[in-house]
Every structure is written in C-alpha cells, then in structure tokens.
C-alpha cells in the first residue's frame, strides 16, 4: 500500500510521537503547544510537510503527510490538528501569493513564530489600513500572527490587536484553545486575487482529517487491546470475555478496511474523500467510546489517556463539517439530486 519513502516517513513520525508526545500529551492539553514543541515539529519537517524544499518545506506527497498526521494523532490529536492548521496556512492560504508572503511562510515552516486562522466564518471589515470585527471561533487565540480573509478576495495578516471576548469551553483539542475574539488592528494585505472564499480551512483537507481520525481510532483500539490483556476480572483477563474480544475484533476489521479505503483515494475533492472523512470520524467516535468503556473507571480519568479521544473525535466532527451541509454536498455527488427536505 505504501512506498518505501512513505514507510520511512511513517516510522519517523511514529518515533517522533513516541519520543516527544507520549509523555507530554496531557501537558499539551493543559498548557498548549509551546515554542519548544513547535520548533521540534518544525525541525522534523512537519510544519511545511508538503511544501517545496525551496521554501523550507519537506516536499512530501499527501500520503506521507497523512501518515505523519495519523501517527501524531495516536498520541496527541491536538498536535496533529495543530500541524494541519499550520500546514493549511502555508499550503492553502499564504502560498497562493508567495511574492507577498514568502518571509511569513518561512517563519511558519521553521516554527519561528506561531500562527492561526479562523475555523469558520469571520466578520471582519477593512477600513483604510485597519481591520475590525469579530471571529467567533479562533483556535490558538494567542498566536503571534493571525491570517484571515477580510473579504473573499483579500487575505490579510494581522499582528496584535486581537482581544479575547470569550474563551469557549470546548469539548476537544483543549491544547489549541478556542476563543471568540474581537479584532482591531493594522492589517497587512497579502492578496487581492480571486481565491476560494470558503471560510472553512479544513473543508479542503478531507483526507488529512480522515487520517487524524483514523489515528485516534487506531490508538483507542490499541490501548483497549493492551488493557484487555493485562486487566483481570472474575479470575480472567478481560480479553477472555467473548463480547469484549469480539467487539475489538470487529473494530480491528473496520479500522483496517477504512485505512485501505482512505489511502486508496487520490482526489481530496472527491466524493470518496468526503465519505472517508465522515466514516473515519464516526469510527473514531465509536471506537473511543468502546476503549473508554473497556478501561472501566480508569477510562473516565484524563491520566489514563483514552478519554481525550472520546472528546476530540466528537469535537472534530463539529470542527470540520456542518453535518448536514457536508452530507448534502456529498449526496449531490452521489445521486445527482439535492436532498433539500
């Protein structure tokens, strides 16, 4: 299924995750991604994964990038989403007008400064050289720079002047933070070109999101399997109870099938990519619920490290898609008819 280069990338990412994230994951949820981790992610080449090397990128193909996200997500979905967000910034947003943004791109890829962008709609207006307005859902609200569209054609970089109106109590990805902010700042215009006005950065990254969800499902399964082979009840290992074992078996099959499906898709805009995303998030949700359950009372505590998959998978579902809108779009691709009712 994978080339040698891709397998190498996967093992690099796996080692990175085990070394840098396994012990730190709980701290990341509480304190966020600090400069040190950001530098390490940059040094590993993850922040500019698919960018050409002349901009400091790693020149990876999408499959390799997905493998990186999947491995990181197994330990820290927050970090995986962070990497995807940084990548979306450079790969999908700034890179479109490199003549203006080249120095910024290098800052992001090298982890020198921290960046963010609105997840959904924003209500910003350019007024002379200033930009004002509100952003209801901003991850990484304390990042050094904010990149946003001021209108469908104008991309701006905002430094400073971002005030937190309210920190959301967010279900998942707590290490990223999520705030409603108001903006009143000097704006540097980056582009005045026709760009895709879609407000949802993660919309164009179905396969990357699917890889993150797949990582969560796999990690949840692996932890449940490990635990079931060490925990005893009624003089037996948990793995010896048929309903528990059969459930893990069933999910192992589903995860393997999904992995093949995801990595067989070439086009991120295709029906299949959308389906893979929805399916993998759903699987991550169901698998994490089972994993938590297998861990019994321990599963309900953060220190066990499985409840975060339960929260993050449900949060991911909300962050990346409006369930209905997304499904309407995909149904049209499938049926050629718009389900409106």
């Amino acid at each position: 299924m994978f080339s040698e280069d891709q397998l190498l990338m996967r093992s690099t990412a796996r080692e990175f995750a085990q070394r840098e994230l396994a012990q730190r994951a709980e701290k990341i949820e509480k304190e966020g991604i600090d400069n040190e981790l950001r530098s390490k992610l940059a040094s590993a080449g993850f922040l500019g994964a698919m960018l050409p090397s002349k901009y400091g990128g790693s020149d990876l193909d999408r499959t390799s990038f997905m493998l990186v996200l999947q491995e990181i997500s197994k330990y820290s979905p927050t970090t995986a989403l962070f990497v995807l967000l940084q990548h979306s910034l450079v790969g999908r947003t700034l890179i479109r007008d490199l003549s203006l943004a080249e120095s910024y791109v290098q800052d992001i890829v090298s982890g020198k400064t921290s960046w963010t962008l609105p997840l959904f709609q924003r209500n910003l207006k350019l007024d002379g050289g200033r930009i004002r307005g509100e952003i209801p859902y901003l991850p990484l609200p304390r990042a050094d720079f904010l990149v946003s569209y001021a209108d469908p054609k104008t991309l701006v970089v905002i430094k400073g002047g971002v005030t937190e109106v309210r920190a959301h109590h967010s279900l998942g990805f707590r290490g990223l933070g999520l705030s409603h902010v108001s903006v009143d700042s000097v704006a540097e215009k980056l582009s005045q070109v026709e760009v895709d006005p879609t407000p949802k950065v993660l919309d164009e990254a179905s396969l990357e999101v699917a890889a993150i969800a797949l990582g969560m499902a796999q990690a949840s399964l692996e932890r449940a399997m490990d635990y079931s082979k060490s925990r005893r009840a009624f003089n037996s290992l948990l793995a010896e109870f048929q309903p528990l074992a059969f459930q893990l078996l069933e999910y192992d099959a589903q995860i393997k099938a999904l992995e093949r499906f995801i990595y067989s898709i070439k086009d991120n805009e295709s029906l299949e990519a959308g389906e893979a995303k929805l399916l993998s998030i759903d699987l991550a949700k169901r698998m994490s619920r089972i994993s938590l359950q297998v861990h019994g009372g321990y599963g309900y505590f953060e220190y066990t490290g499985v409840e975060k998959f339960y929260r993050d998978s449900a949060a991911l579902e909300a962050m990346v898609s409006d369930q209905v809108g997304e499904k309407v779009k995909l149904s049209v691709l499938l049926l050629g008819v718009e389900p409106k009712i």
Binding site: L119, F120, P136, Y137, H168, H169, S170, L171, G172, L178, R232, A233, F234, N235, F241, P243, L244, K285, R289, L292, Q293, G296, G297, G299, Y300, F301, E302, Y303, E307, Y310, R311, A314, A315, E317, A318, M319, D322, Q323, V324, I341
Partner: protein, 367 residues
C-alpha cells in the same frame, strides 16, 4: 396506565424550579472548573426538602429534574446520603442512630466504598482485609473512585474478613463496616481530571491499620457481598434516573436549537428528535417501572438492571446525537458538558456489561 403517581407534578415542578434557580451557568462552570463539591448547593437542596428518603418518588423525580439542568451539581446535591440504604436495611439500631440519623438530618455526608484498584466489576475480587483484633477489627486496604470521598464523614466499606471457602464461593467471607473519616489510619486523596461530573467528589481512600469497633459491623459478618448487591438493586434505579435526566436535558437543548434555528421543517432534525424522544420515553418507562416495583417492596433486579443499562446508554446516545447536529454551537455549549457527564452512566454502579450479566443470569436462573 401511568407508572408514576399523579401527585408528583407539584414536586417535579418544585425540583425543576429549584434547579433552574440554583444551578446557574456561572455556578455550573465554577464547580466544574475547580472540581469542587458544591456544599452550598447540597445544603440548600436539603433545606428545600429534596433529600427526603421517606418520599422515594419525590427523590427520584428530583434527581431527574436536577440532572436535567446539571448532572454534576444535581448528583452531588442528592447523593449526600449515598449508601445509607445498607444501614436502613441491615444496620443495627445503634448504627442507625449514630450514622443514619445525622445523614438524614443533613448534618453529615456518607459514602459507599467497594471498588479497589484491582477490582471493580468483580466485587468478590477485592483485597481489603478486615481482621479481628481484641474485641474489634483492624482494616487495611485501598478503595478507588469513591464518590463523596473527600467530603463524607463516614463510609460503608466492604472488606474481606475470611478467605473464600472455595473458588466458586469467592463472594463469601466479606463484611461491611462503617468507617469514620476522622479515624487514625484513614486517608482520602481527591482524584482530579475526570471526563465529566467534576462537581462530584471522587477519591482514592487508604486504610492503614484502621481500628474498627465491633458494633460498626453492618448486619452479619461474612454477608457483605449480599448487602452490596442488595444496595445496587436500589441504587441502580437512582443511577438510571440520573441518566434519564441527562438524556432529557440534552433533548431539551436540541429541541431549543431546532426552534431557534428555524429547522422545524427539516427531516434530518425531525428524525433525530424523534429518535431521541422515543428512547428517552422508553428509558423513563423502564426506570419508573423498576422504581414502582422497588417502592412497593417487590424489587426486580432484572428490571432494575434493564433500566440502568438502557438509560445509561440512552444518555450517551442522546447527548451524542444532539452534539452531532448542533456542530460548533453544541461543542461549545452546555451540551458538551452533558456529553462528558453522560459517559459515567455506562460505568458506575455496574457497567453496561455487568448489567447484561445480571439480566441474563437472572432470566436463566428463573427457568
């Protein structure tokens, strides 16, 4: 036929009013963030008459209505007498006077300590030891995940008092005792970082050579396992009710979302709503049916476990579906807390799997 006595409407209304007034958004978040037991709210709920064990339907309805507004605060407010049923049913007059009365008067808080680091579902697998010494006993061991652990004045503790007579009779030789938290050798450490229910106190208890006087043995020595199971047949109805309240609360929020966003005519939302409402209704019928039997002194463990299992699953199902269709609004609103709170209902007081074991074993035994 309605399973619930009609005269409960007024009590239900009173409970809902109390919860809406006292469980403000600010307090809900404060106790959750600080992971603090809401003593002030417990007191008020007691003074308002909601912790009245002589009125079991009243307590049940209050639990449902409280959890419908906020599960963490609701459970803390109404579980101050946790475990007291074992004293009511099996305790001596001395124990009733010394430990039950102050709890029923709202002066003291109790806890029920069975689970240990290495044994939860498998109650007979616990390792705490109760050994005779002189006229009394000495208790050694650990308990984990104990609700009210940092706030209770005393605990009903299960420990092994003699080795099992045979591998098949592991549940023999276990004894329940009352242990006060002020006694030497007792230690409670709060367990922080729960997925949900953060306003409930959860602790890791340690007993090091704790001296327990003979009169603190509940009922007969060696019968502790039986008392625990009898207790579960009662408490699981209350847990089913918590879950029912959570599911109803999520359904309320979802309904409001549909209306506020003008989605009444969209089938996706209509179907989701119908799905949730049907399950909530089924969970309510199962729960009230089990409660009705218990309150008529004819508890049916099969029906009780069915109610607990189904209601717990329904709480998770409904909160999940509601989140799915409310998107970012949902995951940043009170609904996200309900989603986290709900999951415990599939675990405590017998996991879903344990409930299924109870149901099927009893059904097969009857034949």
């Amino acid at each position: 036929m309605s399973l619930i006595p009609e005269n409960l409407d007024e009590l239900r209304g009173k409970a809902r009013e109390f919860a809406l007034r006292e469980f403000t958004e600010e307090k809900i978040r404060k106790y959750e963030e600080e992971e603090k037991y809401p003593e002030e709210i417990r007191r008020k709920a007691f003074e308002a008459g909601f912790l009245d064990m002589s009125n079991p339907w009243g307590m049940l309805v209050a639990m449902e209505e409280f959890c419908r507004v906020d599960p963490g605060l609701g459970i803390s407010a109404l579980s101050a007498a946790f475990g007291s049923e074992v004293i009511m049913l099996f305790g001596s007059d001395y124990l009733k006077k010394k430990y039950l009365e102050p709890v029923l008067k709202g002066e003291k808080i109790s806890g029920f300590a069975v689970t240990e680091p290495s044994a939860g579902s498998d109650v007979a697998g616990i390792r705490s030891r109760l050994e005779r010494r002189g006229k009394g006993y000495v208790l050694n061991g650990e308990k984990i995940f104990i609700t009210n652990g940092t706030v209770a004045n005393h605990f009903y503790v299960l420990a092994r008092s003699s080795p099992p007579p045979s591998p098949e009779k592991r549940h023999h030789g276990m004894t329940m005792v009352v242990v006060e938290s002020s006694w030497p050798g007792f230690e409670a450490e709060q367990m922080k970082g729960k997925l949900g229910m953060r306003a409930t106190s959860t602790a890791h208890l340690k007993f090091r050579d704790v001296e327990v006087p003979e009169e603190n043995v509940i009922g007969e020595e060696g019968k502790g396992f039986y008392y625990v199971m009898t207790f579960f047949d009662i408490s699981r109805i209350h847990v089913a009710t918590q879950a029912l309240g959570i599911a109803q609360g999520a359904l309320d929020m979802f309904t409001e979302y549909i209306i506020n966003n003008g989605l009444n005519n969209r089938e996706t939302y209509q179907f989701a709503l119908a799905d949730m409402a049907t399950r909530v209704h089924a969970a309510r019928l199962l729960t009230y049916d089990a409660a009705d039997r218990l309150f008529k002194f004819a508890p049916d463990p099969v029906k009780t476990s069915m109610a607990k299992y189904f209601a717990g699953e329904t709480a998770v199902y409904v909160t999940d579906l509601a989140l799915k269709y409310t998107g970012m609004q949902g995951v940043t609103s009170k609904l996200e807390k309900f989603y986290r709170d709900a999951k415990i209902e599939e675990i405590w007081e017998g996991t879903n799997e344990v409930e299924k074991l109870v149901i099927s074993r009893m059904l097969l035994k009857k034949r």
